[in-house]
Amino acid sequence: MNLAAFSQGKGFFKESKLNGSLETNNQYYLNNKRGNILAPEKRFASNTYLTANYQYKGLRAGIQFEGYNQALQGFPTRYEGNKLVRRYIRYTNKKIDVHVGNFFEQFGNGLVFRAFEERSLGLDNNIDGLGIRYSPFQSLKIKAIWGRPRTFMERSPGEVIGGDLEWSPINREKDGNTQLLQLGTSYVKRFMRYYGADPKFPQQVEAFAARFNGQYNAFNFSGEWVHKSIEANFPNDYIKKKGLILFLKTGWQDPTNRMGVQLQFRRLENADFKGNFNSSDAVASINYTPALTRQHTNLLANIYPHSIQPIGEIGGMADFFIRFKKNTPLGGKYGTRIDINYSNYHALDSTRVTTGEGFISKRIIAFGKTKLFRDLNLIIDKRWTKDYKTLLTFINLFYNRTILQGGPYGDVRATLVVTDHYIKIKKKYQLRLNAEHMWVNSDERNWAGLLTEWSFPNGLSLFVSDMTNYQTYKMHYYNVGFALSKNKQRIQLSAGQQRAGLLCVGGICRFVPSYNGLSLNYTLNL
């Protein structure tokens, strides 16, 4: 080999980058002692994800392999077998970004289009096709997509094509002051062939969105309006109805962070945009309309989470915080933080009709009589000494179980008090103690919960938790285990009877499905 060729080869290796990851989540199921939770016939379940990405200058390529040796409980059973679910090539330079193969993308707030992955929830609707981002000037961004969304291990029978344009006429930042204005518009079309007997069935659904986003120093404001043509799908009982989404957000925050407020309003009407009109699964949606409520991280508050009603919902969320500085009467030696969050959602003010439209809702800004969900949270975060800190949380919620869980259950009213204690010992050891109680007027009545966790400087963490509906079924949902984190690797082994929800132990937070038995999780970054 001549010297020039060798040096070229050396440069090639220097510029080449290869990385990857492995994540495997395994569970072994057991019957519980009382016999009211039965293990599935196949006791072992496993979800494994393996990714690899290669980069050479502006060129990138990658793959993702997934293996389900029976998907974990709580995941759709259509995740099965082993398959290469993602492969892509991407070229990026200063102005253009072209994606061929499987890719993720989002237009605006995601209300009209969002392809994304959230493994812990079993969501991945990546598009297999072509994605282009083009920016002729810094103030103008154009996006275009075409392809078929992923649905479980297959491709959706529906095809999606769309475009998005964003213009930033004002973009100034000086001396800590920001003035920003962005205007955007999106168009997305889904086509899926219909083989039924209805000659008027909408095979093609089009959605159009317009949005703005801005900031004027301490004030921020944004909004998006989405209009969707008639869409009939399985979750809306195949009514032939147009869709409408209205989203508004504004806020103000003191530049010295002493206090701030954020207000959000959203109205949904036939808002679920399906890549496959015959599927009720969340993964089959090509837009993203999440619950705009506080994401609870406690054991018990996750029992009654809001479940959005894309067919018709109106409401909003308000956030307020105030921070008392150090060395003030209310702040004490280390400062005090007060965080208040309120959300309230109703059904639309609507009238049922016998036409194929299902219902009509004439007034855009009108709350229906049916209350869906209300949630008030007050959190006081206080450090008492250098090594001791507490979080006191108060939650009051209303949960319309009849609608949100579907059945003649009635309403749930609950009040929850949580105390979280963090105690540091010799700077490197930490003891966390979390005690909770929830008063509930119906359903499984009152709950109590306790979690304790010890963290050691070598990356080891031991945890044990229990929650019980002590007035009714007297079930114990317990979890005991350890986690070990070492640089690029992490392993967690736990045993218990787990309810589904967001679990924050072992130095991380992740959504866990419900199970009874043993659980082993391992992640590695290569």
């Binding site: 962005q182 933080r337 690797q489 937070c509």
Partner: protein, 158 residues
């Protein structure tokens, strides 16, 4: 079996490559776009921490960094960057959380998790330590109390 074969082929190749921060578009809290290429040759070491408003250990880690800010300034020119992976469900809380905790470092937003994906991050918190040449020299998965001291010691050598 296929997994093992893949790992066998894959691992030696990774040893050849020095991992750098990929160039991906992220956003400021206000929504202004920024390419992470600007961090690749920043002439100072970087600490990049991935977090979310609902992740208690992430907030603990970032608070620990914040408490050490004055010490860090005296001992290293390193820059701390916090990148939120909140989606539109909780994104309104990014600015509020940064304000509530009065963080003195820069906060950005990986809106559809493009950067998280490009770095193959599965769990948060996930923290990267990057040297002056833009090479990722250390990754920390999960927050272990005391990590901030280890990171500071490492930064002093970069």
């Amino acid at each position: 079996m296929r997994v093992l074969l893949f790992l066998f082929l894959f691992t030696p190749l990774t040893l050849l490559a020095q991992e750098k921060l990929p160039a991906v578009v992220i956003k400021s809290i206000a929504g202004k776009e920024l390419n992470t290429a600007v961090f690749q040759n920043s002439d100072v070491p970087l600490v990049i921490s991935f977090w979310a408003t609902w992740c208690k250990p992430c907030l603990q880690e970032l608070d620990a960094f914040n408490d050490l800010t004055e010490t860090w300034k005296k001992e290293t020119p390193a820059r701390i960057i916090a990148i939120s992976i909140d989606d539109s469900r909780t994104a309104s809380g990014i600015k509020k959380t940064a304000g509530l905790h009065d963080w003195s470092f820069e906060v950005f937003w990986d809106e559809n998790q493009d950067l998280k994906r490009a770095l193959n991050i599965s769990l948060i918190p996930h923290t990267l330590v990057i040297d002056r040449n833009g090479v990722i020299v250390k990754r920390y998965t999960a927050y272990v109390p005391g990590n901030e001291e280890k990171i500071l010691s490492l930064l002093k050598t970069l």
